[in-house]
């Protein structure tokens, strides 16, 4: 994908994201006010401001190196599966308490199996392994370590 626009590749987008984060961070740092400050004492905002400036300098070098690079990232298609995993994970977190451990983990395991193409042609094995993963880790957390995991009744009532 060497012909992809040089500004729209992760090599540039990621430092650009860091640049935005650093700017927000720096703005927030200027809003920190010390309750007391003696002679020569650094205030609570001094180190964050210093860190932000070091970050700017390092990012400038990263940008410089990125724009000098002739080639861009790998094929765009490789991002689909990680994106699906991120969406599945976000859904799992959102449903973890409302649905409880059992249902949410069973659904999450099934979705990940599908994303990883694991046993998708053998539905009985697919279901068996998804249930197996759910039971195994319930046994580990709740059984062995005595952790209280959310249940469906807690989530709805």
């Amino acid at each position: 994908m060497a012909d992809r626009a040089p500004l729209l590749r992760t090599g540039v987008l990621l430092p650009f994201f860091f640049l935005i984060v650093t700017t927000v961070y720096l703005a927030a740092a200027f809003n920190i006010h010390s309750q007391f400050a003696g002679d020569g004492e650094m205030s609570p905002r001094s180190v964050p401001i210093l860190a932000a400036f070091v970050m700017y300098v390092a990012l400038a070098v990263v940008f410089f190196n990125e724009f000098r690079k002739p080639t861009a990232d790998g094929p765009a298609g490789e991002m689909l599966r990680p994106l699906l995993v991120i969406v599945a994970t976000a859904g799992y977190i959102a449903l973890f308490r409302p649905l409880g451990y059992w249902l949410s983990t069973l659904a999450f395991s099934s979705v990940l199996f599908a994303i990883f193409h694991y046993q998708i042609r053998k539905p009985h094995l697919f279901a068996l392994y998804a249930i197996g993963v759910t039971v195994l880790f319930y046994g580990l957390f709740a059984g062995v370590f005595g952790v209280r995991l959310p249940t469906i009744t807690e989530g709805f009532f």
């Binding site: 992760t10 990621l14 430092p15 860091f18 961070y25 927030a28 740092a29 920190i32 006010h33 010390s34 309750q35 007391f36 003696g38 002679d39 020569g40 004492e41 650094m42 609570p44 905002r45 001094s46 180190v47 964050p48 860190a51 970050m55 300098v57 390092a58 990012l59 990263v62 190196n65 990232d73 991002m79 599966r81 990680p82 995993v85 991120i86 994970t89 976000a90 799992y92 977190i93 973890f96 308490r97 451990y101 983990t105 999450f108 395991s109 990940l112 994303i115 990883f116 193409h117 694991y118 046993q119 392994y129 993963v133 195994l136 880790f137 580990l140 957390f141 370590f145 952790v147 995991l149």
Partner: protein
Amino acid sequence: MDIFVDVLSGMTALADPYVLLFMIGGFLVGTFFGAMPGLTSVLAIALLLPITYTIDVVPALVMCASIFMAGMYSGSITATTINIPGAPSSMMTAVEGNVLMKKGFGANALGHAALGSMIGGAIGAVLLMAFMPVAAEISLLIRTPGKFSLVLFALVVIVIVDKGNIAKGIVATVLGVMIATVGIDVLQPIPRFNFGTELLVEGIDIMPLVIGAFAISEVLMQSESWKDGLSSTLEKAKNIKIRRRDFLPPRSEIREIGLMAYLRASLIGYGIGILPGAGGSMAAFVSYAMARSSSKKPHEYGNGSREGIAAAEAANNSMCGGAFVPMLMFGIPGDPTTAIVLGVLVINGLQPGPRLLENQAELLGPMLGSLFFSALILIPLTLWLFGPWFIKIVSIPKGLLYTGIAVVALVGSYVATYSIFQMSLAVIFGVLAYFMRKQNYSTVSMLLGFILGPDLEEYLRRSLSLSDGNPVVFLTNPDSLFFLALTGLFVWAILIRKPKKGLAEMGSDI
């Protein structure tokens, strides 16, 4: 001397079946993660970090130490048998071990790797126990400006170790420092960067950062290449037959390698372990390179040198002992595993430093004992018991494996604090770490920046406060000046000085 005796008596806790179970369990988990290409002992400890919230500190530390030792050793298994290093530190073992495997001496190569790991690991643990009281005495002499310069030295070394990527290393480290500034200020009761939400007032815990950076990002990385090379690896694994009796290296071969070679490799590994950010890969590489340059049979290197395997494996396992020195004495982790162990200490309210050794030797003794016994007993024992089946580990389907890891990581991040917020943070850090890894930003640097950032800030502000804001204090204070000079020396040695020709060529080969 009293401390040494206290540590030794603390080791008796390993006789407790409950603690022993964690040592053996940790070792087996570490072996599995170390042997499985793509998984590391860091990931194993990261996944088990939430569990340490629910168990006592002694079994938690014992488990971490045995995972560390096992992870360093077990990378050699797949490195030798299928030429895929289970851990980066086994790269040199793959170079020599797999050649031996192809010649029909696979079990012999595994035996030499285990023997080297056993000797190196045990020597590293003994050196750690022997020199820790001395290190504790020295650390008491370091005053606040010196502590600042020491932390600065650690951060600089972490960044410059990855020579070709310094700007990205700085970005990752400073990002870690910035994340660590969220929450209450280190010296004043002022919340910083909470953006109006109470959830961030207490700051960001190490646990979601570790889970995200090492576990969730790994699942995302693997989802990209879920099918790559799987069938050929499975085929290779199916066809390999290993017999137990072949594991034991003949005496003549051990004599040929020589006791001094094991000792030298162990000392190199231990010394490199003390350096922040260096880790097992560098220990193995330096030791291998030195063994090769001083070998009586240099022509064997690259063609299945048992001496090369012994040098690499003894060094990377001895590194485990060295890495604990700066972490326990100064709170400066030498590598990501000890960084997470530091997290376990902090979670349990223990502050690293000489006082920890003085007052809580009974807590540290079992951990040090776990390092020693894992190396001396569990490495040969697991090779003997499970060796013939080790190779089957790689045949576990990725879909099943990474689904399991994702569930453990997410549920683990929930159970540590019963917080959906922590779970969400773990995913946010996981996604961030995934993109960082894809662009060669070191997530280890981010973690170490996160851990060392608050210390750096505190010592800087305290030093300047005590000297009325005069920064010259860092130059007039002898211990501070020493660490600043050491920083300069490392910058010169790593960045400015040109490496010897032979070493540079070998480095580019791997």
